[in-house]
């Protein structure tokens, strides 16, 4: 097996036994990036010098046996919506094309302290607004399974990089499916943690009450290892959770027999592609064979989730993106003679179409006369969405749903119709207004393209998601499939 396609667990074992060095591992991945990223477009920035230096330091730690963690010496990439000190962070936008953050995101800092090796920054939809990574202001990312198709979004570069062997894991961001959709489209594992479980400090804000940072990995076990390092309270994020972080790896092996798996009937409706439905049904049978009890449950307000999600997102995003005014950062309009000219030109030229649409809709739905009917109404229905999950979890432990009604779509297929693009996330958006954690993992293929399933648990129960997902991966092979690329 090629070094670049190992799991974190496998690579760690080889590093620990000193059969390979972090420098060899890092060089193998950098070589892989040179080999395939011209086709994929997963990276906006590759930090080769930083990576090689950090790999040497990791090897020193491994040699001395000091402060060795499961991530020491393991190369990773970061979605470019998460700031990296001294390393350009564009958020996929022209307006931040030259932005070099003077501070480090907490999640990145914790990974570097654990000894992980930073390879670079991953492509994304501009300001994480999109479901295909086609909204990147620089170039689209392509799906490693079929270069004519999208990798999903908005963390598309991260999912494609993990799938193509261009990093061992990635940090993504999930506001309404942005980790889980690309994970499913690229056949990798993606976790959206409970709101507040991972500090948002350094995540460029999209919708502050939905935003989360989470891992994209090749196995559920690897996702548990990464969350272990990045989770926990942070003085820089007042919304980060105070609850202690459990030992996720210690709970992975627990049997799932007797656990109740809920199937929300509103998620198993006509409109799903036949191949996706077949893969889901087979996964359900697999859980049954593992001894789980299958229950049909209802999340009655599911049909309203997409509207609630987008209404609140537009409102929060329009406020968050007001800071990009060309004064403190961002490309300034050099010829502007007045302040309004400066703003209009900076923002008019710096933002792409989807960002503009969302800022405008947010301002409109918050404006006098429309606030009650749009924004306030959405916040009320959000309460009902949350109550749906609370009631469902009275009768089951984990929910199983599809990730998306279909497999990865073709580039350009949905760019002309924003609403059609939004509908790609129909199964993913309810979890963010509710704040609950959700795990996407591979569960089959339809016409040669990956299919993903989603597991959802109560607030703070990531360990249960890992336990169920890991049990599934012990008896299935889908997550071991790799795209044929390069050689």
């Amino acid at each position: 097996m090629d070094l670049y396609s190992l799991t974190i667990t496998q690579a760690h074992e080889l590093l620990r036994q000193r059969k390979i060095s972090s420098l060899e591992l890092t060089q193998a991945v950098l070589e892989r990036i040179r080999e395939v990223d011209g086709q994929i477009g997963a990276y906006l920035t590759v930090t080769e010098g930083v990576a090689l230096e950090q790999a040497r330091q990791a090897d020193e730690r491994l040699r001395r046996g000091e402060r060795v963690t499961p991530l020491t010496g393991i190369p990773f990439g970061v979605k470019d919506s998460i700031v990296t000190e001294g390393i350009r962070t564009t958020c996929g936008s022209r307006i931040l094309e030259h932005y070099v953050p003077p501070y480090q995101a907490t999640a990145v800092r914790r990974l570097l302290e654990a000894g992980a090796v930073l390879l670079g920054k991953h492509n994304l939809d501009e300001f994480s607004m999109g479901s295909s990574t086609e909204n990147s202001a620089f170039f689209p990312t392509r799906n490693p399974w079929d270069l004519k198709r999208v990798p999903g979004g908005s963390s598309g570069g991260s999912a494609a990089a993990v799938a193509a062997g261009e990093c061992f894991f990635a940090l993504g961001g999930d506001t309404g499916g942005s980790i889980r959709l690309p994970a499913a489209f690229c056949n990798v594992v993606g976790l959206k943690p409970t709101y507040g479980r991972v500090s948002r400090y350094g995540l460029i804000a999209l919708a502050s009450s939905f935003d989360t940072i989470g891992p994209l990995t090749r196995t559920v076990e690897d996702a548990a290892l990464v969350l272990q390092v990045i989770a926990g309270q942070d003085a820089h994020d007042a919304t980060s959770l105070a609850q202690p972080v459990p030992d996720y790896a210690a709970q992975l092996q627990r049997p799932v027999k007797g656990l109740r798996l809920g199937l929300p009937r509103e998620y198993f409706v006509p409109g799903m592609e036949a191949g996706v439905e077949a893969a889901l049904q087979e996964a359900i049978r697999q859980f049954e064979r593992l001894g789980m009890e299958i229950r049909e449950v209802s999340l009655p307000h599911t049909p309203y989730a997409l509207a609630v999600y987008y209404l609140i997102l537009f409102a929060e995003a329009s406020a968050n993106l007001a800071r990009f005014d060309g004064v403190r950062f961002g490309s300034a309009a050099q010829q502007a003679q007045t302040i309004p000219e400066l703003y209009l030109e900076t923002r008019g030229k710096g933002f792409g179409a989807e960002v503009k649409r969302r800022i405008m809709l947010g301002a409109y739905t918050l404006s006098a006369g429309y606030y009650d009917a749009y924004y306030l109404k959405a916040q009320r229905v959000r309460t009902l969405l949350r109550q749906d999950f609370e009631r469902a979890f009275e009768v089951c432990d984990v929910l199983l749903t599809p990730v998306s009604p279909g497999v990865a779509f073709r580039l350009g297929e949905k760019t002309a119709d924003p609403l059609a693009m939004y509908l790609s996330d129909v199964y993913l958006v309810a979890t963010n207004p509710a704040g609950v954690p959700a795990l996407a993992l591979p569960c089959g293929f339809s016409e040669g393209l990956p299919v993903g399933m989603q597991l959802i648990a109560r607030h703070g129960e990531e360990a249960l998601l890992f336990q169920v997902g890991h049990a599934y991966q012990q008896v299935t092979e889908w997550h071991k499939m790799r795209p044929a690329l390069g050689r």
Partner: protein, 102 residues
């Protein structure tokens, strides 16, 4: 919001763009108009939900005020702050004139 059909016209699109300080070309405004209307019309779906006695979810479950001791500590240096400012003069951020001379 009884009339949710085509909430926006081309003038309102330009008006909103100005309110949020977005320079918009006529071509962009024309392309956005049907897209924005389609999205707003989709939102009308929520009106069928009875929310008479449902409170809005402004606060997350378990949300509490978070306070810390007000101890001074070093913040970002002026140099670091200015490193991303597009236009500066010496230690200052440079912007177009805001006040007119009387």
């Amino acid at each position: 919001m009884s009339d949710t059909h085509h909430p926006l016209n081309i003038e309102t699109v330009h008006h909103i763009a100005n309110l949020v300080q977005l320079g918009l070309t006529d071509e962009e405004a024309a392309a956005f108009l049907p897209q924005l209307n389609a999205i707003l019309e989709y939102f009308a779906l929520l009106q069928e939900v009875d929310t008479e006695s449902v409170p809005p979810a402004f606060l997350l479950p378990g949300a509490r005020n978070v306070l810390r001791e007000d101890n001074p500590e070093p913040g970002m240096s002026r140099e670091a702050f200015l490193s991303n400012v597009p236009a500066s003069e010496g230690e200052y951020v440079s912007v177009p004139r805001v006040l007119e001379e009387a």
